[in-house]
């Protein structure tokens, strides 16, 4: 229903703005409906302004900036409409080391209430995990999965097969 959609939307939008500002102090992110009275025709506009920069159309944002803005939106959804688990496939691909760190810290915090499956090539993201599965193709075309409890001693060895 229209009222329900608008109410959910407002809560998520508020949390989105809060999430982004927390991750990027001085930064501003906003989301609004173009036509809140008309559910059939409304669109969702979004504006992101990284700290110290001018507000520009989203298409001008860099790959890493877009990924972090969208990650903030996911975090907002996790906080307002939590799902029991999340599958995140290489969401860190475009990030520099500093943003990987920021993302990791938030994933760690949210993982206390939701389970997360994170596909990654990034060593720092791997360090977050309680457990790790290695997917390899000893035989071409056939996946084989090895499990690894990620202990400090093992870490070097686990990371060597990637």
């Amino acid at each position: 229903t229209q009222a329900q959609f608008n109410e959910t939307f407002e809560r998520v939008a508020a949390e989105f703005a809060k999430s982004y500002a927390q991750l990027f102090p001085g930064g501003v992110a906003e989301m609004w409906q173009t036509n809140p009275e008309n559910l059939a025709e409304t669109g969702i506009e979004i504006a992101v302004q990284p700290p110290g920069k001018k507000r520009m159309p989203p298409m001008t944002l860099s790959g890493g900036e877009r990924a972090m803005a969208c990650a903030s939106l996911i975090f907002a959804l996790v906080r307002t409409k939590p799902s029991p688990f999340y599958l995140l496939d290489e969401i860190d691909a475009a990030l520099d080391d500093s943003n990987v760190e920021i993302l990791s810290n938030t994933l760690r915090e949210l993982s206390t209430q939701s389970q997360m499956l994170v596909v990654t090539h990034n060593k720092k993201t791997m360090e977050l995990a309680e457990r790790m599965y290695g997917v390899t193709m000893a035989e071409p075309g056939v996946s084989s999965v090895i499990s690894a409890e990620l202990t400090k001693a093992d870490e070097q060895r686990e990371l060597s097969f990637v």
Binding site: R66, K81, L87, D89, L117, M132, P140, G141, S147
Partner: protein, 165 residues
């Protein structure tokens, strides 16, 4: 509701029965390019009722069945089962453990099961409604899709959002 494990056999590159178990917190999935990590994500989408060939990166239904390699022949069947701990009854069904299974044969349609009883696709969708899971769920972010919300048009964003709420 907690994810306990997933089992895949005959689905894409999972030519051997493959089980992954999950616990609290973060599980990392790593490995070389092309080894099957995203195929595992596709297995989750598929067993939870996804039918969009674009979301499954698969032309037609039977493309999700293991197509063989240089040594092995194609398989005739793909099956994925996902098991949840439902002690909190977040899934509206009176079972402490809930296993959702999807099976596809080459010549046929998909078959769906809840705790080994055959059901229809709409029963799966209905079961998952309100949990934030199921087709179009924002809780599964495919490779390359992290910034989809930002790069879409305003009306496309609205449909993405609707599937969430």
């Amino acid at each position: 509701m907690k994810l306990k494990k997933i089992k895949a056999f005959g689905f894409k590159t999972f030519a051997e029965p493959t089980t992954l178990e999950f616990g609290e917190g973060i599980t990392a999935v790593v490995g070389p390019n092309g080894s099957g990590k995203s195929n595992l994500v596709d297995a989750f989408r598929w067993v939870l009722g996804e039918t969009s060939s674009r979301s499954l990166r698969s032309g037609k239904l039977e493309d999700v069945i293991f197509a063989g390699n240089e040594k092995r022949k194609p398989l005739g069947l793909a099956e994925v089962s996902v098991t949840f701990d439902n002690a909190d009854r977040r899934l509206p069904i009176d079972f402490t453990e809930v296993e959702i299974t999807r099976r596809a044969y080459r010549a046929g349609e998909s078959e769906y099961f809840i705790n080994r009883s055959q059901v229809r696709l709409r029963d799966i969708i209905e079961l998952l409604m309100g949990t934030g899971l199921g087709p179009g769920s924002y809780s599964i972010v495919s490779q390359g899709q992290i910034d989809a919300f930002l790069t879409s048009k305003p009306t496309e964003r609205r449909s993405l959002f609707e599937e969430t709420s």
